[in-house]
Assembly symmetry: none
DNA sequence: AATGAATGAGCCTTCATTCAT
DNA sequence: GATGAATGAAGGCTCATTCAT
């Protein structure tokens, strides 16, 4: 139950109480920066300006700039994984499971477009940085989980016998492709319909790709 | 047939064969920079160091840094489109056409991984810049061509009746997804097999997604 | 009469005839640049863009950037001197002469505010450059003329016996001060009334300053 | 009375007495640059070289290059205003007041020719920049003060009934004109006598211009 | 934990000028 | 006389990072 028994921070007498968590404030500010101008716009000073933290405070919490980006990336990455996993766990049967992978992802993207966009944008930056192994590990684990989920169904002959490196692309490729396109055109005049519009078609595509 | 008899450019008597084409030299240098360190590594000074052009000359040709990136992006984008189109034109029948879209793309990526990677990396930068409309137009035209190619086959009932906004993602999503993953892991320890390995499976996926 | 008998330039067959004079086109373009953004905005490339001349052509005519500014400055300087001199010559008697100095200057400024502003702005630049002696000489000559004009009137006792270094400031100071202020506020919301409004008062001031 | 007992700043034990005031150091350096080569010579690198501040520090305090120039300009502008005001306040009677305006200005210019020259040179730059409104306001306020000071004397009939837009030019025009000329010729061979030489004549001119 | 002044490497960009054609 | 590609010095500005308080 996580009894948060750390000493209650003294509430300044006359000021509004600084909201919950500095760390989270900073991450929120970083996300806002990225939403405005891409990952490159996540700047110490930009973050500072948005959340009121001092430069020193930011460094205290995250060590360096890349630390902010990476922390935010992993937060979001895990949130997304968890969200999809919940849908998958609730699904009954092979086909429902495959469709849940797609719709779980799609629903999460539509619910949090800024976070989704950050995930697409920041992957390259994280890959270039010192936490590459962490990312590789997290990605590997996620793919592994997907492959493992498929395994019994493959053995039962319910899904085709496909190379496991290919599974993520076959199942998630179309929905990711569409979501990415939707996200990048969101504010322009050439906006695509929300992924929700094609929820069924995209789930179909995944199932057709792997069904026996 | 190979003797393209355009007037032979005057070869300077005693100098190195420099005068090829400054503009192209600069773009090549920019691509090399990007291959080394990502789009952010396309630096005026980095380019200058690689191709020997002066700062002023670079600006004379491209206006500013983003101008280089954008010019390179569009060059590559059109090269890729042309390359796929050639394969498509050579294909006989619906299924062969769909497979040609996938394999044409895949072969191009495998043949020029640096250029392909640049296309993935730089898209965001171009979208953020002043040539967004050009990109939107180019992308629209490419999708339009794909949809138009499908049209008669859809009417004949050879392919499913799907929303046209969805076609690019259904057909190209898996192969793009796999190529992107391959490109981003190329040099790491967690490298994926070359897309060529799964040429047939990826073409299958496209055909399964759209066949009636 | 200046019979300009140089060989008539060949008029291009199908093009609009390039207007009179390249040299003057360039100076006009330079003045336009300065009107827009101050003397610093007189840029080879800015001039080129405005008048269509090539970089090389500009250098052919003026040698270097400062050459343009200086040529324009002296053109305007002499034009102004001539204009005031005409008014002075037409005046009858001491007081009329003094007033003519002021109103001649004032009328010229009001008639050509851009040129007047350029004269104020560019003086410093010309002073800093290699034609400083030319400017000093021109200014000296102009002051000399003014002082010489006063001389007989001073000896006759019609005007006060004042040090000659002081005369230009006493006579022209107020009108220059007001014109300068007017020119610098022309486009703002805090614009002053046209100098024409205070033509008489400013002429009065000059006369009061020197009359016996 | 002089012992201002604020807590004595800790003098560093073994170091040079650096910590005076970075901001002021930078402004002093900027003025030195301008004295050497005009406003255009106020260069980030030039300032840095003269005062030892880092680039970042300069930007921390002034935002950008123009910020330095503007800050220096306003500092000097207000210093001058204050200095003249002190003289004006000490004067008894109308004529003495008018003469104090002139001599107060003149004495300030002679005492700090570099600052005075900067004021003349930099006005244009400030007018062109984003702090134009501040300058307009400061100038308005100064003129307003002058006009307000005259008001009772005008009503009493001690000075002529002149348009208030004209007052600054009539009173200060001659002295400003002479000081400007003196400052611009200071180092040349064609130097004018110090304004101090004509202190009385210039004060006379102001009084003649406005006395009833 | 927090603060913010200071640092300096690294970039982008402008501009006068030259020169071969 | 004209043209415009090429040159390179010079300057402005951003940004991650450190550190004393």
């Amino acid at each position: 139950m996580a009894s948060r028994s750390r000493s209650i921070p003294p509430i300044p007498a006359s000021e509004a109480p600084e909201p919950a968590d500095r760390r989270q404030d900073i991450l929120n500010a970083a996300l806002a920066c990225a939403a405005d101008g891409g990952v490159d716009a996540v700047t110490i000073d930009g973050v500072r300006a948005r959340c009121g933290a001092s430069v020193g405070s930011i460094y205290h919490h995250f060590g360096n700039r890349d630390g902010i980006v990476a922390a935010l990336f992993f937060d979001i990455f895990h949130d997304q994984s968890r969200s999809v996993q919940v849908q998958l766990d609730a699904a009954q049967g092979v086909e429902a499971g495959v469709r849940a992978l797609v719709t779980g992802y799609l629903d999460w993207v539509v619910a949090q477009p800024e976070r989704a966009r950050f995930l697409f944008q920041a992957r390259g930056a994280v890959t270039a940085g010192p936490r590459t192994p962490d990312l590789a590990e997290a990605a590997r684990r996620r793919n592994q989980a997907l492959v493992a989920w498929f395994e019994p169904h493959r053995q039962s002959g319910a899904v085709r016998n496909l190379p496991c490196e290919l599974m993520p692309s076959l199942v998630m490729g179309p929905v990711q492709s569409y979501c990415r396109a939707w996200l990048s055109g969101l504010e322009g005049s050439n906006a695509l319909p929300s992924p929700t519009t094609y929820r069924e078609e995209l789930a179909d595509a995944a199932w057709r790709a792997v069904k026996a």
